[in-house]
């Protein structure tokens, strides 16, 4: 009898299936990367060069003038201060909305997972129902509510709207995470005399680092990329970067400045992009993080 190991067929390094998978991945990557490539090279070209029409050719003499104009002097409607106004507006919306929505979500999740709250199941169900109704449905009632309280079209209004819409998902991910923490840790803390807030700040929040990172990525990209809510609720003085970008791209007199449009778009997309590059591995780790060992 021959040795069974020697009869096993050698593993093919390049089977037809493999080749199929790699070529699919290659073309998919190409498909998604190509527009980005075109944007990037266009933003470094002069208008003269763009007018020649060869969109795939590399810039002959790369220059930053379009980027500078997009940042500081492109016209959005009547004013010509560039997209920087929108950038700072977005930052002003982003920071309080992210911090507060994550805090509220963590608190909700902690209370629902750890404490025996009366009607906890029902509250959670309602919150989740809210998450599955398209948010456009809420726009008109919310406008009415803010108008009634005299806060419509303000930083307060847009931040509040982001906190409300962020709450269901934030609560869900924190509740699930805190549910995976052994109950005995919570019991031990209670034996040590810690109450609701002590346990939350001293024990649970430090243990929640992986979900906190997921939550930050989720909320930052969501709030930064939002267009509709910002347009409706922020008011003219607080329009976020996405709305400003649209104004730059869509309201131009005379010649359409493709290089400026491209630069402005790249600038707008930069914040979530940087966040992903910095924390991509944390994002995966956070999602995978279930149980707490030791």
């Amino acid at each position: 009898m021959t040795n069974p190991a020697s009869r096993r067929p050698a593993k093919a390094r390049f089977s037809p299936g493999r080749i199929g998978i790699y070529s699919f991945l290659f073309f998919s990557a190409l498909f998604f990367a190509l527009p980005l490539f075109v944007m990037l090279i266009t933003s470094f070209k002069t208008m003269e060069e763009i007018r020649t029409g060869s969109i795939f050719s590399l810039p002959r003499a790369p220059e930053l003038s379009a980027w500078i104009k997009a940042w500081s002097s492109a016209c959005t409607g009547m004013t010509c201060d560039g997209i920087q106004v929108g950038f700072w507006n977005s930052v002003r919306i982003l920071i309080p909305a992210t911090v507060i929505s994550i805090f509220v979500g963590a608190l909700n999740g902690y209370a629902l997972a750890m404490w025996k709250v009366r009607w906890a199941g029902l509250a959670f169900l309602l919150l989740m129902t809210g998450a599955f109704i398209p948010y456009q449905v809420y726009v008109f009632p919310l406008v009415q509510l803010f108008a009634l309280s005299g806060t419509f079209g303000s930083l307060f209004a847009i931040v509040t709207v982001h906190i409300i819409f962020g709450m269901p998902v934030m609560t869900l991910i924190f509740r699930n995470y805190f549910s995976s923490i052994p109950e005995e840790v919570f019991k031990a803390a209670r034996m040590d005399g810690a109450g609701f807030w002590w346990i939350f700040f001293a024990i649970m929040l430090p243990m929640a680092t992986p979900v906190l990172i997921v939550a930050v990525i989720w909320q930052v990209t969501g709030i930064w990329n939002d267009f509709l809510l910002g347009l409706i609720f922020a008011g003219r003085d607080n329009l976020p970067m996405t709305v400003q970008l649209n104004n730059i791209v869509n309201s131009q007199f005379g010649e359409r400045e493709y290089n400026v449009d491209m630069a402005a778009t790249m600038l707008t997309a930069l914040v979530p992009l940087v966040l992903y590059f910095v924390s991509g591995r944390w994002f995966v780790r956070g999602i995978a993080a279930g149980s707490v060992k030791g």
Binding site: P182, E184, V185, K187, A188, D192, P206, G294
Partner: protein
């Protein structure tokens, strides 16, 4: 006055009563073990004493104070958990000092008390480590230390050794015993391990279905189990049970498939019912002695089925009239497998149970 007194305690999960009308008193300085298989209500009882579960009825008194509705940290108790339940993001030092920090104890005193406990438990070199950097045994020592720092009067242990391997378990068991001897604190200890129960306890409460079956010293529990369940639960290999019929009267007799015995020497706990009653005679494996099967001493006769050599002792699995009987003998098996065997036992070391009620007679 009892250190802990539990009166008419009822605990319900939804509509199901897990503990029904339970009474228990723990003496000051006593080491009481709650022993039972999973689902018997022992952990529930401990959690209620700790204040982590609310009773439906009844009262709990600790140190003469009714604490039934008082928060866990105000009961003067400390608790050690099975999964250690250390705070993973805190150093050992912060884990030990957390209760004091919450209680707003001054920094200097906090450091002094943590240092004292760390020294006592030999944790000083580990103070700056995180729980993840400790071994299982070290983690459990930190958990015990966290309880000690609080200087409570009563210690509760919820299966503290179940997550450790056999060798560490034996080591920590001795440490806990030493801890009890040096501190002389009242301790209530939950376990499903009878070795832990018998070695650690001053008294053991064997629980089943939320009812304390027997509350007695380890010796009493082992030698004179109060019912059939306790008799079968304690001891390994388990007690041998020989079913038969008891004829009561001035000269009580047991008639069974393996033989007929005069019960004159048996110390009856309760006078048996008159007439015939179905009973079970329980004899521990080490209370059976191999004798010459043809001699006059042989009370049971049969053959050896299998032998198991355990080192210091050996188990003989015998077939006595179709019934399996375990015999624990010192040293090597005195009779080889397949050979005939005679067995002798002392009736005053045996236990007799009423088959219908399971109670000791």
């Amino acid at each position: 006055m009892s250190a802990i007194s539990i009166d008419n305690l009822v605990v319900k999960f939804g509509e199901v009563a897990v503990l029904r009308d339970l009474n228990l008193a723990v003496d000051p300085g006593e080491f009481l073990v709650l022993l039972g298989s999973s689902g018997c209500g022992k952990s529930t009882l401990l959690n209620v004493i700790a204040g982590l579960l609310e009773p439906a009825d009844g009262s709990i008194t600790i140190g003469g104070r009714d604490v039934t509705w008082i928060e866990p940290d105000r009961r003067g108790i400390a608790m050690v958990f099975q999964s250690y339940a250390l705070y993973p993001k805190m150093s050992v030092r912060d884990n030990l000092g957390f209760a004091l920090r919450v209680a707003r104890v001054a920094k200097a005193e906090r450091a002094a008390r943590v240092a004292k406990v760390a020294d006592f438990l030999q944790l000083t070199p580990l103070l700056d480590r995180r729980p993840a950097q400790l071994s299982g045994g070290q983690r459990q020592r930190v958990a015990i230390g966290r309880a000690l720092v609080r200087e409570a009067d009563v210690f509760l242990f919820d299966e503290p050794l179940s997550n450790l391997d056999a060798k560490l378990r034996a080591e920590l068991r001795i440490e806990i015993k030493r801890l009890h001897r040096t501190t002389r604190k009242t301790m209530v200890y939950v376990t499903h391990d009878q070795i832990e129960a018998l070695t650690l306890a001053d008294r053991v409460a064997v629980m089943k279905d939320g009812i304390i079956q027997q509350l007695a010293s380890p010796e009493e529990l082992y030698d004179r189990p109060s019912n059939r369940y306790v008799a079968g639960f304690i001891g390994s290999p388990g007690m041998n049970f020989l079913p038969g019929v008891l004829t009561a009267g001035p000269a009580p007799r047991l008639t069974s498939a393996v033989g007929s015995f005069n019960l004159h020497d048996y110390p009856f706990a309760a006078s048996p019912r008159t007439g015939d009653a179905r009973v079970e005679l329980g004899v521990r494996p080490e209370a059976l002695f191999p004798v010459d099967p043809k001699g006059p001493d042989a009370m049971l006769r049969g053959t050896v089925d299998l032998t198991e050599m355990l080192g210091a002792e050996s188990i003989l699995w015998c077939d006595i009239a179709g019934q399996q009987v375990a015999v624990l003998a010192q040293g090597k098996p005195p009779v080889a497998a397949g050979a005939p065997i005679g067995l002798r036992f002392d009736l005053h070391r045996a236990s007799l149970f009423d088959t219908a009620t399971g109670q000791r007679l």
